[in-house]
């Protein structure tokens, strides 16, 4: 299935979860957070958060700010 991650198209096997996506993309540590279709996904829910074709994910990390 095709997904958008931070605006870029990515292929994942059917039935993949946020946890699988995070692992495939190589995110590690605790300095990132995830939103699925604009809704926050708590870290504790990554294993249960199923993905579907057309989903849009945002994965963010700290930046400077004013």
């Amino acid at each position: 299935m095709q997904l958008l991650v931070n605006g870029e198209s990515i292929s994942l096997p059917e039935g993949a979860t946020v946890a699988a996506l995070i692992q495939q993309l190589g995110y590690s540590g605790e300095t990132f957070a995830v939103a699925l279709n604009g809704d926050f996904v708590p870290r504790a829910s990554y294993e249960q958060a199923a993905l579907n074709t057309g989903d849009s994910l945002d994965i963010v990390a700290p930046v400077v700010g004013g």
Binding site: N6, G7, L25, G26, Y27, S28, G29, E30, T31, F32, A33, V34, A35, G38, D39, F40, P42, R43, D58, I59, V60, A61, P62, V63, V64, G65, G66
Partner: protein, 281 residues
């Protein structure tokens, strides 16, 4: 200065909050934050790929400052975006403090008062300690207090303009009508004199970023703002004199030498001398 700034149950010695963006380097940012004496700093979240490790680097730098973190929702235009970013911030930064921004106009980055109130209401329900970046409109500020905000951050001028306190009448009205609410002037401050003025007007603190980060010497400017904020606060506590329309001599007028009573003028007139000679003194 022993008088503390109290925000959401926490006490701070410094009344200057600073942003972490736009500095020439992370090292200068850290040094500037230290020179400012600030105990509260703002930061944000943005999309990042795993290949980009600067998120962790920035995080490490910021943690080293030991400051209270105030994550912002800069760039968000809807309450939905704000809620998601706020939750992500809380998870990463481990704080429920939030500088709430809902932008209503791309050109002057003016806060959207309607989205702001809606977002603030939901964030307070979710346990966030919300510090909204808002306009200087009294009614909007009251509504933000109604939905549970305990601190307000009205703008001085649009973000990054450095124009100072654009609408002093509205700001003074806020200060007078909301005497017990911590009010922080956020955005638009371009010079230490403007920060000092905000403090003299009775605002509880000042938040700024660009004026320090874009100075030719950010570290020196950070120290200058620290002094200005402290000076303004002390002046406020000392009580400013009232303005007058006419001049009033500060040096005693009693026993002024060379001065003659009008009677001498009259004598002069009698002798046909120039009128008003005595007034030259």
């Amino acid at each position: 200065m022993t008088e503390k700034l109290k925000l959401y149950g926490k006490e701070f010695d410094s009344r200057l909050l600073v942003g972490t963006a736009l500095y020439p380097s992370p090292a200068i940012m850290r040094e500037s934050v230290a020179a400012s004496g600030s105990e509260i700093i703002t930061l944000s979240l943005r999309r990042q790929s795993p290949a980009q490790q600067h998120g962790k680097m920035i995080w490490d730098y910021i943690q080293e400052t030991g400051c209270q973190l105030l994550p912002n929702t800069a760039g968000c235009k809807t309450p939905k975006e704000v809620i998601a970013l706020a939750e992500m911030s809380r998870e990463i930064f481990g704080t429920d403090w939030l500088k709430l921004e809902v932008i209503g106009d791309d050109y002057n980055l003016q806060p959207d008062p309607f989205g702001l109130i809606e977002a603030a209401r939901e964030l307070v329900k979710r346990g966030f300690k919300v510090l909204p970046y808002c306009t200087d409109d009294l009614v909007v500020c009251r509504r933000l207090l109604d939905v549970g905000c305990e601190v307000l951050m009205p703008w001085g001028a649009p973000i990054g303009t450095g124009r100072g306190l654009m609408n002093k009448y509205n700001l003074q009205t806020l200060r007078e009508r909301l005497p017990d609410t911590p009010l922080i002037i956020d955005a638009g401050i371009g010079a230490p004199s403007q920060a000092c003025e905000a403090m003299e007007m009775g605002f509880d603190a000042v938040l700024l970023n660009t004026a320090i980060a874009k100075a030719q010497n950010p570290v020196l400017m950070a120290g200058s703002f620290k002094l200005a904020v402290e000076s303004g606060r002390a002046a406020r506590n000392a009580g400013l004199m009232l303005k007058r329309q006419t001049a009033s001599p500060s040096t005693p007028t009693l026993d002024m030498p060379f001065w003659q009573q009008t009677v001498s003028e009259e004598k002069g007139e009698e002798k046909g001398e120039a009128k008003g000679e005595g007034e030259k003194v």
